[in-house]
Amino acid sequence: MSAQKATDIYLPEQATVLRAEPMTKMERFFELKMNSGKPLGHMPGQFVEVSIPGVGEAPISVSSSPTRGDSFDLVVRNVGNVSGAMHKLETVERVGIRGPFGTSFPVDGEMKGKDVVFICGGLGLVPVRSAIQYVLDNREDYGRVVILVGTKTASDRLFSGEIEQWRASQNITVLETVDHRDEHWSGIEGVITTLIPLVKLNPSSTVAIVCGPPIMYKFVIVELMRRKLPTGSIYVSLERRMKCGVGKCGHCQINNVYVCKCGPVFRFCDVDNLEEAI
């Protein structure tokens, strides 16, 4: 054991809510800034542990790119104690933040110089948005950019305004689908895999970033493999119950892998042999 006084890995720092807005019936958007004035220091794909005193702590993906200033964005679906309490948070209120934790999308690594296809189902767009913004802010570093987004219905769409901006940018292909079409949607209908045959993929020079609900991975990855994309070029972000964020509490373990430290972003070829991964 080290003799020097260590800091408490469970002690959150304070952050202030700069902006809090409803996005859909279930999702709420937050822009936060650390009270220290320092940037969060994250990379796209990482997560933070958000603390509400008296309620608890929950792992939440960072949704904005570090290229977008000192504040950072979170999107929270109202499904539990902490997320429920966060849905009552307003501007100026404070939360505790630990992190950033985990691995990130290889925006400065394997993605550089390659075509990038982002495949996002539902809330999967939230962490991937961080990487999309990063790529757009360093656009010359990457080849073609394809963004595929799927949601259940039109009213579940997240960042629809921003998606329109992406669509309007040059050199970016954006395709959206909804599982169930209604009067608010005249676009493509079908699950996310519907979109994959519609885009051109060069298997040797493409990196795919995949994030969505657990059920989505199997089908999307099969489709990508059918398109001859090597499993080493597919990155997935896996959701687990990352309670401590520092590889101790055991909740996020997939076989021998602690998702909070070795993930949440994995190269697919590194997890496809893990029995409990996908």
Partner: protein
């Protein structure tokens, strides 16, 4: 200080002296079984215990402990319990488990809540005097221990060898400075007792060589034993809760009566419980009992060796005793893997 040899009366006097000055925990009788508890007098100390219901881990990672406190301003502060204590009469296999926890809680990121307690603990190991019904430490290389503790006690006939190994141990044994030194013959006797313990603490016979266990598990993900054994599992988590090398925890906030201040507490958790791996939206990544059951043995025999270089089972046999369905014996599980693998 050389190892000392003292009789039972001198031992009791020494223990009473320690109790007068410090908080001392040790094995005591509870009904017809034993538990670690705070000692009020030497007479309560039962060094002849076979095994305790819970391991002494509870003094380093308590069942429930405050990690942080928070007030009306919403700011969190660390709560660190660094009150010194003496842990008396720890069996070698439990000491090995504590050594493993020392690695776990300092690996990559130091957990100050654990290390503060650990640094302030004086640990007195006692070589096993009574063999418990389900111990198999002899198979796990943990019937004796050579590091991590401050004093080693060994009963030889009607006397005890007291062997202080650290400064903290020398300080605790200071009152014995004038006691006679142990002779070479005594040290030799101790060695024989330890060798004999390695043979005696084998109530279950592990047929898998320890070094081959991780490899055996690696090819056994689809082995029928996981389904066969877990069919009667109650998912009660008792095997986890009595285990000296289970350290997984849950974290919850406790709010005070004033509804303003409170504490963030961690408590023991158990990977056999149904919702251990459940996330928002009710996605449970180990929904099947057999998956949770298998996870426990992979953790002990595969993942822990990968993480810290040692098998994460010390052969205390507590899970064997605690399991209502009688399916938790690691030796039976590992042997079954070997049989079917052949």
């Amino acid at each position: 200080m050389n190892a000392k040899k003292i009789d039972i009366t001198a031992l009791d006097e020494w223990v009473d002296g320690c109790i007068a000055e410090r908080t001392v925990y040790g094995p005591r009788a509870k009904g017809d079984r034993f538990v670690f508890g705070q000692l009020e007098r030497a007479g309560e100390l039962r060094l002849d215990y076979d095994v305790t219901i819970l391991p002494p881990k509870k003094y380093l990672q308590p069942q429930k402990e405050a990690l942080l406190s928070f007030g009306r301003d919403g700011k969190f502060e660390s709560v660190v319990d660094d009150s010194p204590f003496v842990l008396f009469g720890v069996h070698p296999y439990d000491m090995v488990a504590i050594n493993q926890m020392d690695t776990i809680f300092t690996l990559d990121d130091e957990d100050v809540h654990y290390t503060a307690r650990r640094k302030n603990a004086v640990i007195v190991v006692n070589d096993v005097e009574t063999v418990s019904a389900n111990v198999f430490a002899g198979c796990m290389g943990t019937a004796t221990v050579d590091k991590g503790f401050d004093i080693l006690l060994t009963r030889i006939g009607d006397a005890y060898l007291v062997d202080a190994r650290t400064d903290k141990g020398e300080e605790l044994a200071g009152a014995l400075a004038d006691a006679p030194d142990a002779s070479e013959a005594d040290i030799e006797d101790r060695k024989k007792i330890q060798e004999k313990n390695t043979e005696l603490l084998k109530k279950h016979d592990l047929k898998v060589p320890l070094s081959e266990l991780p490899g055996l598990l690696a090819g056994s993900m689809e082995h029928p034993v996981w389904n066969e054994k877990s069919r009667t599992c109650y998912s009660c988590g008792s095997c986890n809760l009595v285990c000296p090398t289970c350290y997984c925890f849950d974290v919850q906030d406790d709010v005070d009566w004033n509804l303003e201040s409170g504490t963030r507490c961690r408590s023991w958790d158990a990977c056999l419980l149904r919702d251990f791996a459940t996330v928002a939206g009710d996605h449970n990544f180990r929904r099947r009992r057999s998956d949770r059951y298998r996870h426990r043995y992979y953790r002990k025999g595969g993942y822990m060796p990968e993480k810290i270089g040692e098998i994460g089972c010390v052969g205390c046999g507590r899970c064997v005793t605690a399991c209502t369905a009688k399916i938790a014996n690691p030796v039976e599980v590992f042997n079954a893997l070997l049989e079917k693998a052949q």
